[in-house]
């Protein structure tokens, strides 16, 4: 089969980091990612089935890995070599079309009894991610044994699969997994009715979180940051009440919330609150959802969240430099939102995040977020495009494997 494999190779990882800094997606050419013809390994167990991907998305965490920017935190949580790709719509051998829920919890690891989070349906919080019958890997796409979506075939546990309704396009189906992340983030945000929410970032995660907020919460105002005109338009179309440039977000939130502002320059001038610069707010938004995960975005988040407000970190942060004094002083909550599981709904019932994500994709016609697809052979172009998606007017870039010859080999 044909697969993009990521090997453990420190010099190449360093080269990818350097190249990625020089040009977006530059790590694909020099890093540890290689296209190879390989034999598919044996299935990890009897409940595993072969999936032949149709579309496989390129996610921000994939890009961080390929461009050498992922955190060392993940080193013990993955097994090399692995094939990336966890946003997948594919076919089973009986031609059933499925979407993958890539988290590898206790069930897929053949661990019984399951850990408490898995028992509660919160697979993303599984406490056994490096144990059981599988090599380490928090998701399909980081585990050697399973393979991943950037290949013509991989293994999936039957519990990971969701059948795709016939009326849903492949493009819509490949968005279901990131949409589930957005849905989970919206629930983790615990947005008060009539509250104010800021979504930092209008990449795939930002836009999907925005749609999920619209679907599942009742805020008074949702403000989104967007760097590029196309992102602005999409954010508005998905229900943002206001859209602002990232470097204007502090002033915008001040206006939106009627806060006053504190200026660092004002302190130097012994003029504490009387400079019209806005370095941080006296009040702020009830909830800020950071879909960027950088030092700058987290610093912004702490500057614009009201005292005792909540910051939800959705974008994968890697290593950041952060002044935490406001977290302490303003008694902010900073929580992460990783993947998905089971959500508690307003009416007291619960639902699988993926089921909610299917509804969300259908309701907002989110298949439109797939902007371009590439064959595996053009993986370097695909990675470069995905790494500069915003500036090129794109959102989601995916590999299209529907015409790969190897896909049809028995």
């Amino acid at each position: 089969m044909k697969a993009l494999e990521f090997h453990r190779n420190i010099p190449r990882f360093a080269a990818a980091r350097l190249a990625g800094n020089l040009s977006p997606g530059g790590g694909a050419g020099v890093g540890p990612l290689r296209l190879a013809d390989v034999d598919q390994p044996a299935p990890p167990g009897s409940e595993w089935v072969r999936v032949r991907p149709r579309l496989a998305g390129i996610c921000g965490s994939d890009l961080a890995t390929v461009n050498g920017r992922s955190a060392r935190y993940f080193e013990p949580l993955v097994s090399f070599p692995f094939t990336p790709g966890h946003e997948v719509v594919g076919d089973l051998d009986d031609d059933t079309r499925v979407v993958l829920e890539p988290v590898l919890g206790c069930v897929s690891r053949n661990i019984a009894p399951t850990c408490s989070p898995c028992a509660d349906g919160q697979l993303g919080n599984c406490e056994h991610v490096t144990f059981g019958d599988l090599e380490p890997g928090i998701q399909t796409g980081s585990c050697h044994d399973t393979g991943g979506g950037w290949a013509t075939a991989f293994w999936a546990h039957s519990s990971q699969l969701h059948t795709v309704p016939n009326d849903l396009s492949d493009e819509a189906a490949v968005i279901v997994e990131p949409a589930a992340c957005g849905v989970h983030a919206a629930f983790m945000a615990n947005v008060p009715d009539d509250g104010t929410v800021v979504v930092l970032g209008s990449g795939t995660l930002g836009l999907l979180t925005l749609a999920a907020l619209r679907a599942h919460t009742n805020p008074r105002t949702i403000l989104t940051t967007a760097r590029y005109p196309e992102q602005r338009q999409m954010a508005t179309a998905l229900g943002a009440d206001m859209v602002t440039a990232p470097d204007e977000v502090r002033r915008t939130v001040r206006r939106m919330t009627g806060s006053r502002a504190v200026s660092q320059a004002g302190i130097q001038a012994r003029n504490r609150t009387q400079d019209g610069s806005v370095d941080r707010l006296s009040g702020g938004a009830d909830v800020v959802i950071d879909c960027v995960g950088s030092s700058d975005s987290l610093t912004d988040a702490m500057a614009i969240t009201r005292p005792r407000g909540r910051i939800v970190l959705v974008g994968m942060p890697a290593t950041v430099t952060l002044e935490l004094t406001p977290l302490w002083h303003r008694e902010l909550e900073l929580i992460g939102a990783y993947t998905y599981g089971t959500e508690l709904l307003a009416d007291g019932t619960s639902a699988r995040t993926f089921d909610l994500a299917f509804d969300l994709v259908r309701r907002f016609d989110l298949g439109n977020l797939v902007s371009a697809t590439y064959p595996l052979d053009r993986y370097q172009d695909a990675i470069q495009h995905a790494s500069s998606a915003g500036s090129r007017g794109a959102v989601k870039i995916a590999f299209d494997l529907r015409d790969e010859k190897e896909r049809y080999r028995p």
């Binding site: 602002t244 440039a245 204007e248 002033r251 915008t252 001040r254 206006r255 009627g258 806060s259 006053r260 502002a261 200026s263 320059a265 003029n271 609150t273 009387q274 400079d275 019209g276 610069s277």
Partner: protein, 538 residues
Amino acid sequence: MSNGRHLAPRPGFVLDVDRNSPPIVFHHGEGFKLEKLPTGRSRVIYPAEPLEGLPDPDGAIRHALLNPIGDSDPLPALLRPDMKLTIAFDDVSLPLPPMRRPDIRQRVIEAVLDIAAEAGVDDVHLIAALALHRRMTEDELRHAVGDRVYDAFAPKGLLYNHDAEDPDGMVVLGETPHGEAVQFNKRAAESDLVIYVNINLVAMDGGHKSTATGLTGYTSLRHNHNVHTMLNSTSFMDRDNSALHASNWRMGKVLRDAGVKIFQIETTVNNDTFGREGPLSMLQKREWEWSGRERASFLAMQQGLKVMPTNLKRKAFSTWLAPYEMTSVQAGEVEAVHEVTTANVYRQHLVPVEGQTDILTMGLPYICPYNVNSIMNPILVMCLGLGYFFNLYRGRPLVREGGVVIISHPTPWEFNPVHHPSYIDFFEEVLADTTDPGKIEKKYEKRFAEDEWYIHLYRNSYAYHGVHPFYMWYWGAHALSHVGRVIIVGGDTRAVRRLGFQPASTLADALEMAGDVVGPQPTITHLKNPPLLMADVT
């Protein structure tokens, strides 16, 4: 003309550009450009040379106070020991650039205080009538009223800035027949006499506008600082055709009917902006009359400014004090006084111009009324170009309807956060949404006007009121509705686009772009200002 100075100042005139015409100096922010205009179809409007100042300004002031115009007693007859007297004066926006010491306000206020002291008046307050402008700093107040007056009054809290947002300091005195609420400074309203000390730099200033605008707040200003009024002020420099002034005059009547007694003192200055001698004197001379030395010093200055950091340039220009001289002073009843004042302003500024033009060019200088000791941000560029300069006409606009205005200015995306906090938000939020003055007024004005943080900064710091950038935008509404395109030469491209205008690298490019709107071989008129002039267009 032995030393370049004429015995009698020459009036303004219109130069038809021909092959022998030298390049024309365009102001360009904190710099200058020499531009060649197309021959045979371009003209340049030059201001009149500075009128001679009054030989004895202090004597003229005292004479005016003792010999008022209109229905008014001489000042001494209006004063008595047990009275409340309020002296209000124009703020830092006048004159431009600030004038050399002694400022005319100092001369007038000292004369008034001498007479008040002779009459035994001891309840005197002095108020900078700044409406919704930023507060004046101590240095600026000292410069305006002089150290003697400042030291005698300010430490006792008797010399201060008007505060239009002081809930205990403002009062509504009535309403005009047009339904315009007339809000007024409470101290002034409760005074037995309000003496207003004015410096009339342009024809827009003075009259009832001094008090009805300078001592009021948003409650009143929203009735005449709005899009409708500005579209019906053609121009706001021509009181008889200005809805802005009509509203102020109506409000003046309400003040009078409410018992507010005003003794108006108005002064005019010549347009000796850059000095008859000195490092900038060539800027108010006609280019073909420059001496070799002036040409060399201009080129040296131009080159030096090109390499100088912007902050240093701003600092250097902000130290320039104009050697203005007082050309008239009149006191008494507001309207009678203002008629004489306006005639004196026109005597200096009016330049007869025959016919309109397809393209109006203008080089904007480093200063406008709202960036004294500050930054000329993009909104102020729009206001100075399309508000003030465009409206410096009587009769018809200089540029024909559907014509093009070309502005030369660096237009940096830069703001002074102390002076212009709401401008930043206006630029980032409002102009990103729309540049249509009507839509802006309807959708955004109220929120900015009532924003508590802006009000806090206006009252306690040195910030223009939250609503002020809206007024700046409305100031250009008449021009925006009249012209077909606005092009800015040499500006920050992003900032120019945010304003809704087109950027051009050079004047030649701009003229070519303008051709798309006005057709080939268009007529071009350059408004060579400052020194100030006003086109009398027939």
